[in-house]
């Protein structure tokens, strides 16, 4: 983190994980910052109320039990359902909201919700004098913003999936999103929707993209794609990194894989 800037962090537990919002700059303690952060958390809790598969009374749970039609549910549900279909098409089936056999958009909602809440409530902070940057991270995925003209750059650490507590790589982002999917924290929980079997070829995949909706979808798709990196030239992502099941690291930028090989 750049020296000389005041900074404040807020943390709330929601969506089964922890959400952190960092505001950087002399005005990080201002009323504007406080109100924006509170509104951002409130919007995420509202999304959780509609979409949580762990709440019996959520719209998604009622749809699963056949008590509610998607069309009759909160308008967000239809919006997310359509977006999930588009993501399934774009990833050629590597991402799916129906891999369980019923509509479960859990893998899409977090990225979509954080992107949306950040745009609604945190982006306007970039206009507040004395605030140079604002970022939100939810369970290892983040949306970061920097005020135009500011010298601030976010230094993002990418967790080492095989060494808890250690950073494998870093990437600098001024305005964009970073998402990581993998088996490090919760085991082989990502299922290849095309085969119905857990994806195991990739330990961890990190994707940097202009927005978190895309970064999140493609990080999941990257885990499913495994050794096949052919998707990177067509995906709306800017760069990324993955750790294979064998522990090798592969990186790409601009749709091109980049390898640094030390010759003997």
């Amino acid at each position: 983190m750049s020296a000389g800037h005041a900074r404040r962090a807020w943390v709330e537990h929601l969506m089964g994980t922890a959400a952190s919002i960092h505001v950087v700059g002399a005005s990080c303690d201002s009323g504007e910052a406080e109100a924006a952060v509170a509104a951002c958390f409130a919007e995420l809790r509202e999304v959780e109320r509609v979409f949580s598969p762990f709440r019996d009374d959520s719209d998604v749970s009622r749809i699963r039990r056949g008590e509610l039609a998607i069309d009759a549910a909160d308008p967000w549900v239809g919006e997310v359902a359509r977006a999930c279909e588009e993501a399934a098409l774009a990833t050629r089936g590597m991402f799916s909201a129906h891999w369980r056999g019923w509509f479960d958009p859990t893998g899409y909602v977090k990225g979509w919700a954080v992107e949306r809440a950040s745009a609604h409530h945190l982006a306007p902070l970039m206009e507040v004098p004395g605030i140079v940057a604002v970022g939100i991270g939810v369970g290892g995925d983040m949306r970061l913003r920097t005020a135009p003209g500011s010298e601030w750059t976010w230094h993002v650490g990418i967790a080492d999936p095989d060494h808890p507590g250690e950073v494998l790589a870093t990437v600098d982002v001024r305005d964009g999103a970073v998402a990581t999917s993998g088996t490090a924290e919760r085991g082989a929980h990502i299922v290849d929707p095309r085969m119905g079997v857990p994806a195991r070829g990739v330990r961890s995949a990190t994707v940097i993209a202009p927005d978190l909706t895309a970064a999140d979808v493609w990080a999941t798709a990257a885990v499913v794609a495994g050794r096949d990196l052919s998707w990177i030239s067509a995906a709306p992502v800017t760069s990324g990194l993955l750790v294979t099941g064998e522990g090798a690291v592969r990186r790409w930028i601009s749709g091109v894989e980049v390898a640094v090989a030390t010759a003997a």
């Binding site: 983190m1 750049s2 404040r8 962090a9 943390v11 537990h13 994980t17 922890a18 952190s20 960092h22 977090k110 991270g137 369970g139 290892g140 995925d141 970061l144 976010w154 230094h155 993002v156 650490g157 990418i158 967790a159 999936p161 808890p164 507590g165 950073v167 494998l168 790589a169 870093t170 990437v171 964009g176 998402a179 990581t180 999917s181 993998g182 088996t183 490090a184 924290e185 919760r186 940097i208 202009p210 990196l229 052919s230 990177i232 030239s233 800017t238 760069s239 990194l241 930028i253 601009s254 749709g255 091109v256 894989e257 980049v258 390898a259 640094v260 090989a261 030390t262 010759a263 003997a264």
Partner: protein
């Protein structure tokens, strides 16, 4: 799939740049390479091989399937270090991508990749701004001062609410609260 391999010699004074086009079968086809310095060969990932050249040459790249012809250049580096990367600016051959030819320039300083620029990209492309903003993830093992890396946020596989307490992100949040 397109792939660019940057090879840097750790022990010899020469520098080898390898650019390969990797087919969908995973077979790497070397397109061109240029070496500054003498008596060097190298092998990049995917089984590509390099050829020797003379110092300061600029080699016209040959085209292979799916790749456009471009100019390959390299600058000599001086300081070797533990990362095995020599300081200098390395310009890759233009490679065709889904949205046009892309040419990548990598700058190594202090053994660390300090910049990845895309000096050539399709004119009028809506992706120009995105390309200019992007950065290649930098491996900590490539940096000399890994311990001094300043981190603002951590990206990792989703942790549970309980797992958060042990996470690096939790430590960063506490430092700013």
């Amino acid at each position: 799939m397109k792939k660019i391999v940057y090879g840097a010699l750790a022990t010899l004074s020469g520098l080898v740049l390898l650019f390969s086009y990797r087919t969908s079968l995973g077979e790497a086809v070397p397109l061109s390479s240029t070496a500054t310095g003498t008596g060097t060969t190298s092998s990049g990932t995917g089984g590509t091989s390099g050829t020797t050249g003379t110092s300061g040459t600029t080699t016209q790249g040959t085209s292979g399937s799916g790749a456009s012809t471009g100019t390959t250049g390299g600058s000599t580096g001086t300081s070797g270090n533990s990362s095995g990367l020599k300081d200098g600016a390395y310009t890759g051959q233009a490679v065709d991508t889904a949205y046009g030819a892309v040419q990548v320039k990598v700058t190594v300083s202090g053994g660390k990749i300090t910049a990845v620029d895309v000096p050539q990209y399709p004119n009028g492309s809506g992706r120009d701004a995105e390309i200019n903003q992007q950065a290649l993830p930098q491996l900590v093992s490539e940096t000399i001062s890994a311990q001094s890396a300043q981190i603002d946020m951590i990206s990792g596989a989703t942790y549970t609410s309980g797992g958060y307490l042990q996470s690096l992100q939790s430590a960063l949040d506490q430092a700013a609260q």
